[in-house]
């Protein structure tokens, strides 16, 4: 029997710069070692040997070691400056997955702590060790074995939720984004993504902090102390310049330069940071689903019944231009609805989106050009010019903010703004000085509060669907664009009858990753036949229980070869279209 798939057996960070002299003990270089209870001499052995052998091979090939396999473990290795990271997993996990996981862990650390070298200069190693432990344990929580193969985001079961709620969530995020200090956001419910504007990789990072607080708050509530803490909190984070660039290059901002016209005279117009659901929601905090959507789709956004923060509206944020027209807005919303509101990029790409953005561009353009470093992103200077302006204005003595376009890894300090409403949380990636800007804060807070409350109430009332409708088959469907996984695998890790499926999926996934041209595969052992297929955007695996045994000689009547047809047919009801 193969050992249960477990994502990590060893993880360590070794700082070679601490062990330069002959008498330096290896332990001086060990920054963090998991499992922490490992005897120190074994830690030293692994760190010392792997680092030494790794360096020797790197030297021979003039290239850092990437993967190191032992007989019983395989390690993904990263070497940078004097640091060496190693993540060891059991050999059954695909190598690509181990490498992805390590890269993710490192980028997680940098996201919350900034550059590794600096963090270790500024913080006590114990503090940072607990962070590594936190990030690791976050990854060990995968609900089933497939999560070790595919790095995926936990989302709410969208088949169970009224699509309009997803739309609502998307709109809340869009509304918040209208504040120029807000880069992007996501909404989580009970540790699962409801809607996100960020790339899957960034969403995963953002979720880690929230998951921790969510688990903590659950513990608190179970302990009886339901004392609600401040619903709004913030965490400093760091974005890589490429991430920042990606966020800034969304068409939302692209239009700013071209459309921004200084027209201060229009600043007195109605504030309309939220031009969407919150309008209706604020009047009717618990609208019926249909009512809410109706009002959304029908009410022109230029309607002046906007009641949120009516008096305190920041004139700078007020819209100078009325929205082009309601109809186009509707199209835009509809589009967002179709894409589950996942990506504002799609939304804005649509023809109407450009005009809608023109409006938002107008907002930003109105005397806020100084703050609007986002706006520059779409221009020819790209991140460079934009950032410099940004760092000048926003980042206080932005040492790290100093852009270095040569080095993609330089980190830009940012903030995570979190607004919690019971199980629901709104997370926004904001500029650091957003927190000093009480006006913006309040705006964002008030513009979203009612909508969040409403959304929370609805999501809470959604009864979780029958867990993993088990049929005479097992399937897994991985959306590689959105990094989401749909599967009817039971939650129990290592369930015996599911193991053949997981093993096959793991092998096929490796094969798909290594062979670009491979589209479909059927592999069969005596007991199980698994069909795998992939396209640019997805990978799907399917196993039908009760495959009839046969001799293995080619036979077109063999049930294994009807798997593609069966998969196409069966998976339709799971929302997976293989046609």
């Amino acid at each position: 029997m193969p050992p249960d798939l477990k994502s990590c057996s060893f993880f360590f960070l070794y700082d070679g710069s601490k062990v330069k002299e002959e008498q330096d003990p290896t332990r001086k270089g060990i920054c963090y070692f998991y499992p922490e209870e490992t005897p120190i001499d074994k830690q030293e052995l692994l760190c010392g040997q792997l680092a030494g052998a790794g360096r020797c091979v790197s030297e021979l090939s003039s290239s850092p070691v990437h993967v190191l396999r032992l007989r019983r473990n395989k390690f993904s290795i990263r070497m940078k400056d004097d640091f060496l990271w190693a993540l060891g997993c059991f050999v059954d996990i695909p190598t690509v997955s181990v490498c992805e996981l390590l890269d993710h862990l490192i980028s997680l650390f940098c996201f919350y702590n900034g550059s590794v070298r600096q963090s270790y200069q500024l913080n006590r190693p114990e503090t940072l060790a607990s962070r590594w432990a936190q990030y690791l344990s976050h990854h060990q929580q995968g609900t089933n074995d497939l999560h070790h193969i595919f790095s995926c985001i936990k989302t709410i079961d969208s088949t169970n939720v009224d699509p309009l709620l997803l739309l609502k969530a998307a709109l809340i995020l869009q509304a918040c984004q209208r504040c120029p200090l807000v880069l992007a956001g996501c909404i989580l419910f009970r540790g699962r993504v409801v809607s996100t504007q960020m790339t899957p990789a960034l969403t995963m990072k953002v979720m880690v902090h929230e998951n921790e607080t969510f688990i903590k708050s659950q513990r608190h509530s179970s302990a009886g102390s339901s004392a609600v803490k401040d619903p709004v909190s913030s965490v400093p984070v760091f974005l890589t310049t490429s991430e920042l660039h990606y966020l800034q290059s969304t068409p939302v901002d692209k239009e700013i330069k071209t459309h921004s016209t200084p027209c201060k005279e229009t600043q007195h117009r109605k504030p309309r940071l939220s031009r969407t659901l919150s309008d209706t929601l604020s009047t009717d905090s618990e609208p019926s689903e249909s009512g809410s959507s109706q009002s959304l789709l029908k009410s022109p956004p230029s309607s002046t019944d906007n009641v949120f923060v009516p008096g305190t509206a920041d004139p700078l944020l007020s819209s100078s231009s009325p929205l082009p027209n309601g109809k186009e807005e509707d199209v835009s919303f509809y589009h967002s609805f179709c894409t589950n509101g996942d990506d504002i990029t799609d939304n804005s790409m649509s023809s109407s989106g450009a005009e809608a953005n023109c409006a938002s561009g107008g907002i930003a353009g109105n005397g806020r050009t100084m703050l609007d470093f986002n706006g520059a992103a779409g221009t020819e200077e790209v991140c460079d010019g934009g950032l410099r302006r940004g760092s000048g204005h926003v980042v206080p003595s932005g040492a790290e903010g100093a852009p270095d376009c040569q080095n993609d890894d330089s980190l830009v300090p940012m903030m995570l703004y979190l607004h919690r409403v019971k199980g629901l949380v709104l997370i926004l990636l904001v500029e650091r000085h957003f927190l000093d800007d009480s006006a913006s804060m309040e705006e964002v807070y008030h513009s979203s509060l009612a909508a969040l409350n409403g959304l929370e109430a609805h999501l809470r009332s959604v009864t979780p669907g029958a867990p993993g409708a088990q049929g005479p088959y097992i399937f897994a469907h991985f959306d590689s664009i959105q990094s989401t996984l749909t599967s009817n695998l039971s939650g129990r890790p290592g369930a015996a009858h599911e193991r053949p499926f997981v093993r096959a999926a793991s092998l096929l996934h490796s094969h798909f990753c290594n062979t670009e041209t491979l589209q479909e595969a059927i592999i069969r052992s005596a007991g199980a036949a698994v069909y795998g297929t992939r396209s640019v955007a997805q990978e799907t695996y399917f196993l039908q229980h009760g495959t009839v045994r046969n001799s293995g000689i080619p036979n077109h009547q063999d049930s294994a070869f009807s798997l593609p047809t069966k998969a196409r047919h069966r998976l339709l009801k799971h929302g997976v279209n293989l046609l």
């Binding site: 030494g52 052998a53 850092p64 396999r69 046969n550 000689i553 080619p554 070869f561």
Partner: protein, 721 residues
């Protein structure tokens, strides 16, 4: 004592390595140009001593540059093997440390620029294979390592069972001898690599027969009635007996004959012998056959790498009788004084002046598996005569040597001591450790007798006798400790001594001039002439036929859309596949050069993919890859052709021995595994690989596969068989 020494050595080396790696980490930043190719295979001892290496010119260049950079004293470039050992030392030592302290060791490294390093330890020898051009993946490199080990076993036999002796065998003190041996091994490795990359039968590791039933039959009859009979009744055979004879056309088998009382030759050994024959007489047309790509990849070393320079026969003739006789006389001395394997080192250095150049009439000593009624004996000594008939066509004779009977008891003793050692190491003591078979008392009696028999012969059995006496004192006498852990070193010692005897018997050239120990040159020439005469009219036909054994054309009508297939009978170790001609001037149905090259790459890729799935227990695989549809099937039949039910196949770890038949017969294991549930039935195992155009409906493809599978092994129905 020795363990203490090696421990100290290790510590020293470790410190060196540590300091070295630290130095390296600094110089890492100043990285030099990357080396695209870079291939290497290294065998090192636990103390990082190089026992053998092979590198391509790029790797050598890289190493020299690295070494040159760190060596500024200006003593000139140190010997290449020193540089390579220094460069690899940290990895080797780290590997040993990991085994000692963690019980786990490195299997492979991959760097960001996709260089792959595979490490595999056999006893005290560490094999490292490196690839830097993406041609070979981890599995390929591991296979290369196992094939290298197989070749060493075929050449050195049971000496490989004693690390101490093998180390000396692989790395003779005498540099000239060492150079010659390493050159030979290097060229064998290159021949293998070339065959694996270009020859389908070495891709799937099964023998390909030349398909011409009438001629085959005639040739087999000829080998039996005329050749072998005549040879074995000749007075000039010096006690040797021809047991197998076969004719190769390039790598394909035209005819194979085994004498009646001979054990069958296993596929693994036959494939190894074909590599050796190809190495000795590389088919010149093989070189022409390389596509432009291949020519490029070997251009660095030039085509001469495939030729082992042999002294011309005429020169050897006149020389061998007197010249080598003198040399042999003096050569007798150290062997005579052979006392202890440890002393051999000093003696080896004396041999530097008396290494005779290889005599062309001297056969190659090979060690092959023999299965007899009493059991399976691996690595039994044979002589191999490789007689070139024409370029590309070779006659190979395998003879049993007169003293080979000695090898069997030695193997039995070695096995007994190895078992005993293993049991003692596992913590068994007393009678639990000595439980047979064979019972230790039985071994005791036999070994006493064996040593007595050795007494009057040329063989120096004194050290064996001494160690054995000591062993008996400790194990059996009242004053001794009996069968306890203390006996483990003595088990090792006994093994070394037995291997030493084996080495004296079968590896050292101690034959006296007056009684040559092999078929006389005249006899060899007669055999050569006899077969040449027989095949004279067929010569041209055979050479062409070997290139176009079967062609896809004959299958296109019945199987539209089929591009290529390989069918393998794993029970006989034979394969059938349409020829893949990839030469520029030799177009096939697949078209010329690039297209054929493309298909060839697909075939090679498919075989590798199928193996990976088989390793994990999947016996059926279909893949849609680009415009192609691949199928792989493995199934079992009984003798009568009845298809047997599929069973769950064993799931092997990633670094298990490669799946194939050359270095390790996976399929024999598989058939045995299957037989467990089908007692008494002879199980046959088949494999079929096909490549179709992707537009063909999969139902039709599967029907094709079915038809191919049932058709190919039935000669009556196949127009080509």
């Amino acid at each position: 004592m020795t363990s203490f020494c090696s421990a100290r050595l290790r510590v020293q080396a470790e410190q060196q390595a540590l300091g070295y790696t630290r130095g390296l980490s600094l110089s890492l930043q100043t990285s030099r140009g990357s080396f695209v190719h870079m291939k290497c295979l290294l065998i090192a001892s636990e103390s990082a001593e190089v026992l053998f290496y092979w590198t391509d010119p790029e790797f050598q260049h890289n190493v020299q540059q690295q070494y040159g950079a760190s060596q500024e004293e200006g003593h000139g470039l140190p010997a290449f093997e020193d540089s390579i050992s220094t460069l690899f030392a940290p990895v080797i030592i780290s590997c040993i440390t990991m085994v000692d302290r963690l019980g786990d060791s490195y299997a492979s490294f991959t760097t960001e620029n996709n260089h792959v390093y595979v490490l595999q330890q056999f006893e005290e020898c560490l094999y490292i294979a490196v690839n830097g051009d993406g041609d070979e993946d981890e599995d390929d490199l591991r296979r290369k390592i196992y094939v290298m080990k197989k070749m060493v076993e075929v050449l050195f036999g049971m000496v490989t069972l004693s690390s101490t002796l093998l180390r000396k065998e692989l790395r003779p003190q005498d540099t000239e001898l060492r150079t010659r041996l390493w050159k030979k091994l290097q060229s064998l490795l290159e021949t293998y690599s070339h065959l694996r990359q270009n020859d389908q039968s070495f891709l799937v590791e099964a023998v390909e027969r030349l398909i011409h039933p009438t001629l085959c039959e005639q040739c087999i009859e000829f080998l039996e009635r005329r050749l072998v009979q005549q040879l074995n009744s000749s007075g000039e055979r010096a006690g040797e007996e021809v047991v197998h004879a076969f004719i190769l056309v390039h790598t394909k088998l035209l005819a194979f004959y085994s004498s009646r009382n001979a054990s069958s030759l296993v596929t693994s050994d036959l494939l190894a012998l074909i590599i050796m024959a190809q190495n000795m007489y590389p088919s010149s047309s093989d070189l022409d056959d390389n596509g432009p790509e291949d020519a490029e990849s070997t251009s660095g070393s030039g085509p001469d790498v495939f030729y082992t320079p042999e002294p011309s026969p005429s020169e050897g003739d006149s020389d061998s009788s007197n010249g080598s006789s003198k040399l042999k006389k003096t050569h007798d001395m150290p062997v005579f004084e052979f006392v202890d394997p440890d002393l051999q080192m000093a003696e080896d250095s004396l041999q530097s002046l008396r290494v005779p150049p290889p005599d062309p009439s001297t056969p190659q000593r090979v060690f092959l598996e023999v299965s007899l009624k009493e059991g399976l004996y691996p690595m039994m000594p044979h002589s191999m005569y490789c007689l070139p008939l024409w370029p590309g066509i070779t006659l190979v004779l395998l003879t049993k040597i007169p003293t080979s009977a000695l090898a069997m008891p030695i193997y039995v003793f070695l096995e007994a001591f190895a078992k005993l050692e293993k049991r003692l190491q596992e913590g068994h003591e007393g009678s639990a450790a000595t439980r047979g078979p064979p019972a230790i008392q039985e071994v005791r009696g036999k070994l006493d007798k064996f040593i007595k028999v050795l007494g009057p012969s040329d063989i120096q059995a004194v050290p064996l006798l001494n160690v054995w006496t000591e062993f008996k004192n400790r194990a059996f006498s009242k004053g001794g400790h009996g069968f306890t852990k203390d006996l483990i070193p003595w088990c090792k010692n006994m093994k070394t001594q037995l291997c030493g005897i084996y080495r004296q018997c079968f590896l050292s050239d101690s034959g006296s001039v007056d009684a040559p120990r092999h078929l006389s040159l005249g006899l060899q020439e007669r055999a050569q002439a006899l077969v040449q005469e027989k095949l004279m009219d067929w010569k041209e036909f055979l050479l062409v036929k070997s290139k176009r054994n079967i062609t896809m054309v004959s299958y296109l009508e019945d199987f539209p859309g089929l591009i290529h297939f390989i069918c393998i009978d794993r029970s006989t170790g034979q394969m059938i596949a349409p020829s893949l001609n990839i030469t520029e001037h030799n177009s096939s149905e697949l078209g010329k050069g690039p297209v054929a090259q493309f298909i060839k790459r697909k075939v090679w890729g498919l075989v590798n993919a199928a193996r990976r799935y088989l390793q994990k227990g999947y016996s059926t695989v279909t893949l849609r890859d680009g415009d192609f549809f691949f199928c792989y099937f493995l199934w079992f039949e009984n003798e009568t052709g009845f298809k047997l039910d599929a069973v769950d196949l064993p799931i092997l770890p990633d670094d298990s021995a490669p799946i194939g038949m050359l270095s390790w017969d996976y399929y024999r294991k598989l058939r045995r595994f299957y037989s467990k549930n089908h007692q008494g039935e002879l199980v046959r195992c088949f494999e079929l690989l096909t490549i179709h155009l992707g537009v063909i409906p999969s139902e039709i493809i599967l029907q094709h596969c079915r038809q191919l599978a049932s058709k190919l092994w039935e000669p009556s129905r196949n127009p080509l068989l």
